[in-house]
Symmetry: C2
Subunit: 719 residues, 2 copies
């Protein structure tokens, strides 16, 4: 229990850091009246959208909570609500600071690059620490209450179901937030570009464009609030399911199990501390902006090594003593073939093994960051090849971009698989779970890097709209360009954690199955045709989901275009600059479109596992129903990993290829190559900011719904 | 044996049909001197390319043959060579008739639509019947020789290895032919469009464009020769592996086994006859061109029902008698878990069961054709939505096209899975194999519909270049528009057969494994991490392969653009129309580029299974090496199915969205919407004609290499 208390303290430090730094940020000057006016419009729009979005999600959430209350009881329902509310809170707080930091960053950029960088990054760090801190506090709180005051054993059914329900709450909110925010931001962005840049021939962020405020609102509700909810979900699911796996798989005395289950918590805790230290290392010095951000990132990673060593030693005592061993699997293995059991549980491990697994997680994080930078940075072959292909036109730009997006899946997959095999060799499934936990423990720093992006993007927009001098805009542009890469990094990181966690999630499913249905023999072999059916249906989900997301953006952007055209037509003064366009109306239109469009695709991963289970059970019996459902969980990862990686990397590469041309290559702004690159960027927008990133929570939801379905079916039989 | 003789007779009838109809086609008037001149240039270019391509493939083929001779012996080597030579021959003969029919179709279209349609379709039917006929003769010949004069049992190792090697020969050639031809045709097409339509502002097929002959050559070497080699491969692999599965799985007396293994052969035979009858029903009447083609298709399908009933009854005798039964699995099941064995072999079946499975195959063919038409035809929502999105620009056109391409995977996957489960419920894996065989037995008719496309495309080009009257061009355009849909149909059909055959291929692998390594316990359960590794590596292959294919087209198209620019610069007379451009030089450049670019990606699926096996064996032992390899086979199908379906349907939809606008919608030719649609079409080109269709042979190669690797490893241990 002292380990859990320490983890709680770390979580509280993160929250305190958030409040203190918020105060620092808000004390900075907020610019002149015009800037404050613009910022207020963005704030108002973002709040209006977020409250409408949360209202809609609340309805879904309440329906789900009622279903949970009837099927799984009040404990799961409360945990579900905690996860849901905190996921929403993480997004809301992040957005709230971001819409205040934007104008202050623009003001700070008037005097120096360092000033703008510090402010934008600090505001990102607030979001980052709150995401990690709230996530850690949620899991610690639930675990502490259940194993302490409520007196349940750490591997009791109550603890496992509570952690799963907590993760479900976080996931359910995050898929809506990611998708709704993603549709909003890209519909506004694409719509504003189409009607502003292309039709009216006015520059980006021109205040005469009625969609320009909606575009800036989108950065905050999509890239900030949506992203924060997503990473909160990833954090809770990864740490939570690592604990669930330990509870399900490791045979040890209750105190030993307690300490082992607390290890991922305290790892998360100390990594929050190293992340906070890292944020103070983000200084420009002589290097580039990217270099300054990397200084913070690498400081966090390097400090994490001794910190993780220390807490591992604390938790396991003797680093060389064997944990687990024979009779390793706890219960209910009779539902599995002997081989399946062997696959999950064949390993015993030592403290050193766990430490090395976590080092693998840290190394994987570094590699994923580096690969993402290679595929989306302007200094390397991929982005340059897209820029070069733009010279011969729109078509070749898109062809090369698609080629890069397909190619960009290879290296991440290979390094994930190497990490996967290495961690498994060291400590079996538990090893993989710890590698994933160490990777995700860096969330605070990674989210800080990401949330920095929308702030600088907004700052640039405000500088343009408020007519600040050219050199201010140059500084915000330079800060913003780096944001494209850091935004891509987070997405690769989140989906990488899902890839790594694939077998952990499946392992939780199979052992749960053994626990709940000890008499059922389920065949997960690839030669079972219902396994193949499940794999293919699972693989279909990311495609369908991607199709919905892309179509939604196209449709919503169309309504933006129409509204702007109407405004231009009805009031000549707008283009002359004499009347102010009706920004709020456009924001309202995108808001309604995004909320309408997010519902059906978000329900897809919630309902699919349930439908597949009942359908296959009806056709081929319950054992095959469970086999299909299990295979579906892996199918959705096998295809989702590639869909998400290709979309996010490809989109980032397209975006920066445009930036590379705007920097004066291949004819620069206004050239034919630039027009082609703008097309590529437009295509990449829903790829990288709507469909691609939402695949990550989609994968988790499918898995968690399957776990809850198991519990509900077992409860129904027992009751 | 009489069944095999009858199948041989059907194969011979197909070949005779080919010769007789060739004579009819060649006797038609070949147009005026100018037309013949153009046609001669296309013929020359196509022959030059194909002979260079075959020379390159021959080198690879000989190397592989030598390796096979040392590892698997002379019998496999000879069968490999038969498969390779006939696959090449199918492509060569198809191309040869196509380059002669094109000019005759243009000439016939001078007088009537029916004349052009008949000629183009007849020439397609020649290719179709030769593909099916040669495929059937190859399998029948090998099977007859080995079980007759050579005296081997039908389920002996010799028969199984010979059929596998035959399939390997066909697959190896077809992946080179599909990819090389695909790169050629799209590099020439994209290059010609970019530099002609976009830069020089001259229409498509303008004789002043030096790349115009290369573009027409491409239709023949890619859409005709490459497609024919691909379908030959699909035919041989599907029928051959159905026989292998029967040999491996069904426990019956030698004569019963003989007759059961001959059933797919005679089903192929009678479907050739119904296909030939179908070709005579392609008449315009009052309906549309598509309707005329459908008359032929549906006649073939409907006649196939009683024909298949008849031969099934002949082969099994009593339609109600049980075949298989307990003790069903033949040999070597010890490598598998009891569940795995159950999955493969749990079913006994009757003649009626087999008949209904084949009906499922026919129904699936019809559904796949209908779905493809829905997604790529100009009358339905998908194509119309892309056309509408073109109004707002290049970006929205591409976004909507990508959305449709993602969405287009859903319905085919679902109908394939329904067919899969239904066939499995009736007769287990053997049922699925028979469903796939019945589907593929319609190859003659399906290829006829497809090969019709490049002929009309070329006819249009020749009509334009030879300056034939407007109304002739209108007729060839109308014929060509339908070709876009029929071309998409074949690709969906081929990849659908691969999806259906997934478990059959995996079943052959697992039972082979049991035969060759009876003492090894291999765990194919999804909870084995090496299975997950294999699934993900397999899923990566289509992505990498797609990336290579797309990049290759971009690069080769770039060299076309440069050559054409040089020609325009060096000789003013070309644009004035006073000097003839150097067509041959452009053809030569594309030829060299395509051949260079096809090699590395084609070797990817050949080498990957071998590398994965040895790598995982080194890390985690032989059992896990085999588990990873087996999972890779399913991984490549799970992801390949979606990549191929999305690319081919999406590409077809983009192409027809352009055609839809050219028909006068959304502003028609020359409007901004049209320009955006041209971009989409350009993007779709390498999607649908290079990367997408080549995924089908790629899937097969990976599977067959794995089977041969097993045999080679077993042989090395035995010898």
């Amino acid at each position: 229990m002292p380990i859990v208390y320490c983890a709680i303290v770390c979580g509280l430090i993160a929250v305190i850091y958030g409040f203190v730094t918020s105060g620092q940020v808000l004390r900075q000057p907020a610019g002149d009246a015009k800037m404050q006016d613009i910022a207020a419009a963005i704030q108002e729009g973002a709040k209006a959208y977020l409250s409408r979005q949360y209202m809609t999600i609340a309805i879904v959430g309440i329906v789900v909570a009622i279903i949970l209350a009837f099927t799984l009881g009040w404990l799961s329902t409360i945990c579900f609500l905690i996860g849901a509310v905190l996921s929403g809170a993480a997004g809301f707080v992040g957005m709230n600071i971001s819409v205040r930091a934007n104008v202050r960053t623009a003001e700070a950029a008037r005097t120096s690059m360092q000033g703008g960088l510090t402010l934008a990054f600090r505001s990102g760090a607030i979001t980052g620490m709150l995401v990690a801190g709230l996530g850690l506090l949620a899991i610690c709180g639930v675990f502490w209450y259940l194993t302490g005051p409520a007196g349940h054993a750490p591997n009791s059914r109550e603890v496992i179901e509570a952690l799963t329900a907590l993760a479900f709450g976080a996931s359910l909110i995050s898929i809506f937030a990611r998708l709704g925010g993603g549709i909003f931001t890209k519909a506004a962005d694409v719509g504003a570009d189409l009607v502003g840049k292309v039709e009216a021939g006015i520059p980006e962020d021109d205040p005469r464009n009625p969609a320009v405020i909606a575009d800036n609102v989108g950065d905050n509700v999509g890239d900030c609030a949506g992203m924060a909810a997503d990473l909160f979900e990833t954090y809770v699911v990864t740490i939570g399911l690592t604990m669930v796996s330990i509870a399900l798989l490791v045979q040890a005395s209750a105190p030993d199990l307690m300490r082992l289950m607390a290890l991922p918590l305290i790892v998360g805790g100390v990594c929050i501390l190293t992340s906070i230290l890292g944020t103070y290392m983000v200084r420009l010095g002589k290097g580039s902006i990217m270099g300054a951000l990397y200084k913070g990132f690498w400081t966090t990673v390097i400090l994490a090594v001794p910190a993780i060593y220390g807490v591992t030693r604390w938790a396991v005592g003797d680093m060389g003593a064997v944990i687990g061993g024979a009779g390793f699997l706890d219960a209910g293995s009779s539902a599995l073939t002997p081989e399946a059991t062997a696959g999950i549980a064949a390993h015993s491990f030592t403290g050193w093994d766990l430490f090395f697994c976590m080092m693998i997680g840290l190394a994987l994080t570094g590699l994923l960051v580096w690969i993402t930078e290679y595929y989306t940075g302007t200094n390397y072959r991929p982005v340059k090849s897209i820029a070069r292909a733009s010279v011969t036109g729109h078509g070749t730009n898109v062809i090369q971009g698609l080629a890069i997006s397909l190619e960009a899946t290879a290296l991440p997959t290979i390094v994930i698989l190497i990490a996967f095999v290495a961690a498994f060799q060291l400590a079996g499934i538990i090893g993989i779970a710890f590698a994933a936990s160490a990777l995700i423990a860096l969330t605070g720093m990674v989210v800080a890097l990401d949330a920095y992006g929308p702030v600088t993007d907004n700052a640039g927009g405000i500088a343009e709209m408020a007519g600040l001098p050219e050199d201010v805009r140059d500084r915000t542009d330079a800060l913003d360009a780096v944001g494209n890469t850091t935004k891509a990094v987070t997405k690769g990181y989140a989906i990488g954690s899902a890839g790594l966690a694939a077998l952990v999630l499946f392992g939780a499913y199979t052992t749960d199955l053994g626990k709940y249905f000890p008499d059922l023999r389920v065949d997960f072999s690839l030669s079972n045709p219902y396994v193949v059916v499940g794999l293919l249906l699972g693989a279909l989900l990311p495609y369908l989901f991607g199709a919905f997301g892309m179509t939604a953006v196209g449709r919503a952007a169309g309504s933006v275009v129409e509204d702007v055209r109407t405004q231009f037509r009805d009031d000549d003064g707008i283009m002359k600059g004499t009347t102010r366009p009706n920004y709020a109306r456009t924001v309202d239109i995108v808001t309604r479109a995004a909320i309408k469009e997010m519902i059906v695709p978000s329900l897809l991963p919630v309902l699919s596992p349930i439908i597949v289970y009942f359908l296959i059970t009806a056709v081929a019996g319950q054992a095959n129903g469970f086999a299909s459902l299990g295979a579906m969980l892996l199918g959705v990862i096998v295809s989702g990993l590639f869909v998400a990686l290709s979309m996010t990397s490809g989109g980032g590469a397209w975006d920066n290829a445009k930036k590379y041309i705007e920097d004066g290559n291949h004819g620069g702004k206004g050239s034919e190559a630039h027009k082609a690159a703008v097309t590529g960027d437009t295509v990449g927008d829903p790829y990288k900011d709507t469909a691609g990133p939402a695949v990550n929570p989609m994968i988790k939801i499918t898995n968690i719904v399957a776990l809850l379905l198991l519990a509900a079916l077992a409860g129904g039989m027992a009751g």
